[in-house]
Subunit: 483 residues, 2 copies
């Protein structure tokens, strides 16, 4: 048995047991590990590098749309969390509470932020006085804690990292415009950077953010046919403005409550990258967010240190100069075969092999992770060609995911079809729905599927009836089992 085979054997095939594959690949690829506390993960450097790439690309978009970053406290006094009734009801069950500071019991418990509306509210109330102060367009990068019972690395953990936008506007229209602008920005981000196609729309009342007037979301489909919420954008209306007394004097000298939004994306996006693009050989990271875009493997043979190694080093330098994230693995204690399968497993988009014969021919062998195809490229053209190949890989991953999404989005007119699709194929099931929460609840209990979003443009026809209860349909919804 070669080391190559040994390595592949260590990991459950994705096609065999998706859930085990996920848990194993996260650890084997050193993306994350379990901490000594149940449900709390450590993000290892290879995983954190993805987050840094996501942050950089997302932060650029957040700033390009006029937002600025700030930092609000980790702790929220219980009395503040309680100000918005629906909000506290939604979040209280999953709050971690600080009750002791130093040696003293606190007079008031402090929530470790499960989201920051309730600590930002009092500050906005203090800062905003006039229409001249609006809009307020703030974002923060922070850690969040939600006491979860069932956890899974990146997807659902007690602590996670995110960005949360919190904005205030003079009118309801502006707030709605902002909510939709961010939703569109999130969609573009996922598709461009993560190569993950998403559907976008609004949530039902049952699924909306606790305290919001309306929640919009983008949803992606994982390789096992389950949906994953990739980001949410909430129109908060004046719910928090009234709870926290956030008022401004308008141009007519009248005091008005502001209109707010909030929106967020999290480290869960890393989980989506794994589940959306991975295959039986391991991860496949889209080049734009891959921690390492190209691994260079010199083939050790003969006087390779005088011939192959300098060529590999020169190639690495030229690719770094082209702005790429490069790893050169010249270790002698590992065989080329071991390295090949190791970096395949780790999802490095492109492998560049350079052996003695390649040096003689002035070329390198480029092996794509997406299609596993090989091509020889002259060493002198490497810096020009590799960025083009990486763009192609990015495009292929996105196209594959789009094809998968389209193939796994199915209409169902009858409850039998609906249930059958969810049992045998999963994916999104698009069905007319009566609009009743009770019916939504019944579907969830019977099929484990929830309404992920209601996509604009998928209105019910007059003849449509609810897929579950048979009453006239109010709308058409995208249902799925979800993470």
């Amino acid at each position: 048995m070669t080391t190559n085979e040994r390595l592949v054997k260590q990991i459950t095939a994705k096609s065999e047991d998706f859930s085990r594959w996920y848990a194993e690949i996260v650890q084997k690829a050193e993306l994350a590990d379990y901490s000594p506390m149940k449900g709390i993960m450590v993000i290892r450097p290879y995983g954190y590098a993805i987050w840094e790439n996501i942050q950089r690309a997302m932060d650029l978009r957040i700033k390009a749309t006029g937002h600025v970053n700030a930092y609000f406290p980790l702790f929220i006094p219980e009395s503040l969390l309680q100000k918005e009734a629906e909000h506290v009801e939604g979040f209280a069950p999953e709050v971690a509470w600080v009750t002791v500071g130093g040696k003293e019991d606190l007079e008031e418990r402090l929530a470790v932020r499960p989201t920051s509306e309730a600590i930002i509210g009092p500050m906005y109330s203090k800062w905003i006085k006039s229409w001249r102060d609006l809009p307020v367009l703030y974002n923060q990068w922070a850690n969040i804690v939600r006491w979860e019972k069932v956890t899974r690395p990146f997807l659902r953990t007690t602590e996670f990292l995110w960005q949360e936008g919190h904005t205030c506007h003079a009118t309801a229209e502006e707030a709605e415009e902002e909510t939709l602008k961010i939703l569109a920005m999130y969609k573009e981000f996922c598709e461009t950077e993560l190569a993950i196609p998403v559907i976008s729309g609004h949530k039902t009342l049952r699924e909306k953010f606790a305290g919001a007037q309306m929640t919009y979301a983008i949803e992606a489909l994982m390789a096992d046919g389950k949906a994953l919420q990739m980001g949410t954008s909430h129109n908060l209306g004046q719910h928090f403005a009234k709870a926290f007394d956030i008022k401004f004097e308008d141009k007519n000298q009248t005091l008005q409550y502001v209109w707010q939004t909030s929106w967020g994306t999290t480290t869960r996006m890393i989980g989506a990258l794994i589940m959306c693009h991975g295959d039986d050989s391991g991860l496949r990271f889209p080049p734009r967010v891959a921690p390492v875009q190209v691994v260079i493997v010199p083939i050790a043979a003969g006087n390779w240190k005088e011939t192959v190694l300098p060529a590999a080093q020169a190639a690495a330098e030229s690719l770094k100069k082209a702005g790429l994230r490069i790893q050169l693995d010249a270790r002698e204690e590992a065989t080329p075969g071991w390295k090949f399968s190791e970096y395949e497993m780790r999802g490095v988009p492109l492998r560049v092999e350079i052996g003695p014969r390649d040096v003689k021919n002035g070329q390198a062998v480029c092996v794509r992770r997406d299609l596993k195809t090989k091509q020889t490229v002259p060493l002198s053209e490497l810096a020009a060609r590799v960025p083009v190949i990486l763009d192609e890989i990015q495009a292929v991953l996105f196209e594959e995911a789009k094809t998968f999404l389209a193939a796994n989005t199915r209409p169902a007119g009858t409850y039998e079809d609906f249930k059958s699709i969810l049992e045998t194929k999963r994916g999104f099931v698009v069905s007319p729905w009566c609009g009743e929460s009770d019916c939504e609840e019944k579907i969830k209990n019977e099929t484990m599927a929830t309404i992920r979003v209601i996509v604009p443009g998928t209105e019910a026809r007059p003849s449509d009836v609810c897929v579950c209860c048979g009453k006239p349909a109010l709308t058409v919804a995208h249902f799925a089992r979800a993470y």
Copy 2:
């Protein structure tokens, strides 16, 4: 009274009451604000932008020296914090404890990290097996909580932001080398980016990090003559390796404990920028970390919207293209005079005024914040000249601070001189010291001065006696009252 005068009157002069000036400027310049919780601040966008600039510049240096970023949990189980005896003794008094998760009382209390050695230890113990795994060079950007009684924005707050490096090495020598490499990197960072000169050396046992073998630090002098610790680099020896069982198999197949370091810098550096460079007109930010490097103020007169405004916009565009952080303030509701004093107060390094006559002459008036000098620059040369002027400002601020540091570092051979300097002039007092903790404690109780660092190269001469007790001196120390 003009708005200009009103604004200046609102703030206590720095020369009059430094402490009040600091508290007021932090709020007026919108760097930070007080949250509803005592001792916990909100970092507002203008203050957070400085942190982003610091992060970017520091992260580059951290990565250039071979380190990678990771993310470890916010919570540390009490049993882990207790593993290193000195560590828990030092930190327990200032820990915030989570005792409730969701609706349930926790079986074990969780510390909100006051520093991360105790949560990283068990992970290193799991990950490190062989000499091939070393060195481990990790850093993390995170929030930290220490339950402080007396707080001051940026300088001492219950929650703050920092970077913390945590490394493991095969030998004591490598760990010491890393500790000193980081100390030198921190010093270079402060001097290059923040224009703050620092002295560097090691701490006494009394002042070292709880659990470290040796703590090194860089210390700066604030304008009121008090010292501020700007960063620390700890050689942890094998203290935590033994407490957390972090072992590796060396090249001779023998199990050895690793040698560790840890090191950090925090949002406190923003406090140093304020206190080191500010003057009676407000802040003076060094261009390299200033949130806004250049403010452009068009002078509204006559048909300014057809003449002055387009020129100001063109100037802003050309400066942005040159990679500078620009603000164009074309608001009509504020007078130029109000804007001038506002941006002086906010510490913007350079103001570019463009009026009708300037447009006719194809020029702009550049006013430096550091020296308050004016110069006219042809509009066509603005993008080339402004970066040069900003470099000059950076250099002037650094030179001023170096002069101040040199002028306020005084030797004292007798305890009378020592006390007199601290009473009347403050600054660093350089005196021989016997090396006894009791004597160090006595000096602190009587003069409020502590040993900030022992600088290499300031050894005691054979004839030197301790400034306090008169016994033979072991070394020479830099004493100061400190934040």
